[in-house]
């Protein structure tokens, strides 16, 4: 079946531009997560949604980062006034359950390069 789909796969932005990254989770998955993976590092948690509710945004690095999931399925991560330190792979993951131990299914990520 279809996995987690992210678009675009690659995004180059000039410093100061706004970007929007899209995630289509697996159909029926309640939980949705965004992670940021810098080069040579493991993924770092950004934010968590349970259906349309954003229950945890403790990992968002600044108020330039904003995420939404208005209908409880597709999610968008928006980064305003991008900076060079925002360059990373942004991974979206979904899981069937709600704050349980069901495994996360990751998409292939969006590689953001800020020049």
């Amino acid at each position: 079946g279809a996995g987690v789909s992210q678009s675009p796969r690659y995004k180059v932005a000039k410093r100061g531009q706004d970007v929007a990254l899209r995630c289509d989770p697996i159909s029926g998955h309640v939980s949705l997560f965004w992670y940021q993976q810098a080069l040579g590092q493991g993924p770092e948690f950004l934010t968590y949604f349970q259906n349309e509710a954003q229950l945890d945004k403790s990992g968002l690095p600044s108020d330039r980062f904003f995420a939404e999931r208005p209908e409880g399925s597709v999610s968008t991560l928006k980064i305003q006034r991008t900076q060079q330190e925002d360059s990373a792979v942004y991974l979206c993951a979904s899981s069937l359950g709600d704050r349980d131990n069901s495994p996360l299914h990751f998409g292939n990520g969006t590689r953001l390069t800020v020049t």
Binding site: F33, P43, L46, P103, H105, G107
Partner: protein, 112 residues
């Protein structure tokens, strides 16, 4: 401050032998541990997990061991196969938290 540490950036193992990947953690509130495998240009794929109430979980060629007193877990792959060549991430979740904390990963290379 790395709460999940994978001290070996890379590991080379001969095909057919056992691969042992190690992970140490510092947060005693972690109660659930996972291993993910990642190929280049793809997202991480779930491999195996273990709850803190257990000390071993096995799934086919993969076994995860948890030593809570030492705050250490390991992933054993036996026998190792060429398709196992990938980056392996150890991850953990604290009680009551939503997000996982990942290590930096270990690049496993299976030599023919």
């Amino acid at each position: 401050d790395q709460q999940v540490k994978q001290n070996s950036p890379s590991l080379s193992v001969q095909e057919g032998r056992i691969s042992i990947l190690n992970c140490d953690y510092t947060n005693s509130m972690f109660d659930y541990f996972l291993w993910y495998k990642k190929y280049p240009a793809e997202g991480p794929t779930f491999l195996i997990s273990i709850s803190s109430i257990k000390d071993k979980n096995e799934d086919g060629r993969f076994t995860v061991f948890l030593n809570k007193s030492a705050k250490h877990l390991s992933l054993h792959i036996v026998p190792s196969q060429p398709g196992d060549s990938a980056v392996y991430f150890c991850a953990a979740r604290p009680v009551g938290a939503d997000g996982l904390t990942f290590g930096k990963g270990t690049h496993l290379i299976i030599q023919p």
